[in-house]
Symmetry: C2
Subunit: 335 residues, 2 copies
């Protein structure tokens, strides 16, 4: 394992802060670490491994001498700066959706397709959509066992998926309601406190949102299953952190519940939390601030042939974003 010169782009955002935490706690092999953000955040000081790092303004010159850049500052910043970083010889792990469907950009979940990370002709590797990562962490072990055919999913997505501003909007609305003040909505088109928003990202022409189509397009690419059928409804819920997904997964082979449970034995990053007899199932709070995704409520589906019904939960700031990006970086550092 070689020590790497790393930069974080968007270091002060919700995911950037978590990337920093993952690098620190996982003891990532660093030669140097550069924190990059907008001009507004430049000059901020951040503690890291007993040192104080100063956030620098992101410029086209930022990537000289940088081996690896972890981008998490939105699609516009990625589209502008990731090619500049890549041209400077830096490998980019990009958390935005900007490059995910580019055939020359691998889309990687290290537990599923680690080899893909090493084939990056554009020097860019894409980090998948949060809801897709968490759902696939549960589905991939079952796919290996039974052969995945169709995914029917409904999501329950936390406000941290919208970054710090989503968290602030829910906090502010809850406080206004408790204090009897009027509620203001800025981040979401309607009130999110004690309410649900059945639209995440913009609409495509077919009536699905782009968030919903990510599960289809990214799921096919990550698992190399071009024929996979996926339908999804994505809903924002008044939860601060951790996404949940209710999934009906149909397989080519007949399913067996005991085999399905065994499929998770020894698999990293995913665990069963599933025992109806003791009312055991995972909630968003159970996975919050943790690295593990959880599967509960697994049962044979009553309506769909060869199908399992399951409830999946994972911290989308960690495994759904920062942790997965750092795991990709670890793969690269390992060779």
């Amino acid at each position: 394992m070689k020590n790497m010169n790393v930069a974080i782009v968007g270091a002060t955002g919700a995911v950037g802060v978590e990337i920093l935490s993952c690098l620190e706690t996982r003891n990532f092999p660093l030669a140097s670490l550069k924190l990059l953000a907008s001009k507004r955040s430049a000059g901020k000081q951040v503690a890291f491994r007993g040192q104080t790092l100063t956030v620098e303004e992101l410029t086209p010159e930022s990537f000289a001498g940088v081996d690896l850049a972890l981008f998490s500052a939105g699609g516009d910043i990625s589209r502008q700066f990731a090619p500049i970083a890549a041209a400077a010889g830096c490998v980019v792990v990009d958390n935005s959706s900007a490059f995910r469907q580019d055939p020359d950009v691998p889309l990687v979940v290290p537990e599923i397709n680690p080899e893909a990370a090493f084939d990056h002709p554009r020097n860019i590797i894409a980090n998948p959509n949060c809801t897709t990562i968490i759902t696939l962490m549960a589905l991939y072990p079952l796919h290996l066992q039974f052969g995945l055919k169709t995914v029917i999913a409904s999501s329950y997505q936390a406000v941290s998926g919208s970054g710090q501003q989503g968290i602030a909007e829910l906090e502010g609305q809850v406080r206004a309601i408790v204090d009897g003040h009027p509620v203001e909505s800025k981040v979401y088109p309607k009130q999110i406190a004690f309410n649900l928003i059945p639209q995440i990202d913009n609409f495509a022409d077919n009536g699905y949102t782009k968030e919903e189509l990510k599960m289809l397009n990214e799921g096919r690419k990550i698992m190399s299953l071009p024929e996979l059928n996926v339908t999804c409804t994505c809903v924002r819920v008044p939860v601060y952190r951790s996404h949940s997904i209710s999934v009906v997964a149909q397989f080519y082979k007949p399913v067996d519940l005991e085999l399905a449970r065994k499929a998770f034995d020894g698999k990293p990053g995913i665990a069963l939390m599933d025992d109806p007899a003791t009312r055991t199932w995972p909630t968003p709070l159970d996975s919050t601030n943790g690295d593990t995704c959880y599967v509960g409520r697994m049962r044979r589906d009553l309506a769909v042939d060869n199908a399992l019904n399951l409830w999946v939960v994972g911290d989308q700031v960690r495994k759904g974003a920062a942790l997965n990006a750092v795991q990709i970086a670890e793969l690269l550092a390992s060779r």
Copy 2:
């Protein structure tokens, strides 16, 4: 229409209060109204149509001279007192699940199977499960158009589905969190504030909860579709009122989106709130305290043949419980 002597059993509960409100605002043809509840609530005074009514203790003698009793005090009270009321010549509309699968007890949604209300050999009519009513309000017009084959649903259920105590638990937990105090959970097995509980009611042997099986068993009975396939995952969400359901509905006939939209034209109690171009879709707050259920996000399903994807919202204390019961009473009063 004849004036009826009516009793409300469980008059001080969340649904009982709403039944009273429906009787008042809908100008139900009353000869007399008796409010019945546990000994604890007896003596309470309630305003109704400019009069003051006093809550009486429920006893086996309560039903003398009563034509119609609306029960909403839980399954145990219904099992004990509904047969007593029925034997006294009173017709019972029961909001509990106690009699819903009894072949001699009709299960009625007035917009779907009104005729069934008049065939009640046990003098008991069952009011269906809240999530089932709201989902079927959306599915039945589509069934008439295309022939319903399979329902795949994930619910987002409000705490008022657990009565006043569910509302109090969410309020108390939110206030504790805002004030920085520890959170106590009494009604739900884990924290519901800013969290999700993927279990409603107890588990059956097949890994589904009883709440989830109601959608199957009650859906078949109400629509007279004994072959209907239904799978469902029911989840409690931190919303005060109005249930939401994400549904994939598969039909026997090919679906057409324009025909599907027209299926709701002129249908009472259900309306489209659905326009991606203007980001229009219903949220729980949109249906709260209203009589109408709403359908949004309707689109051709990408993964399932002949299927539509939709998002349904309705106030489960009103159409999901009190309003539906009062509508059944209105049917009976109309003959």
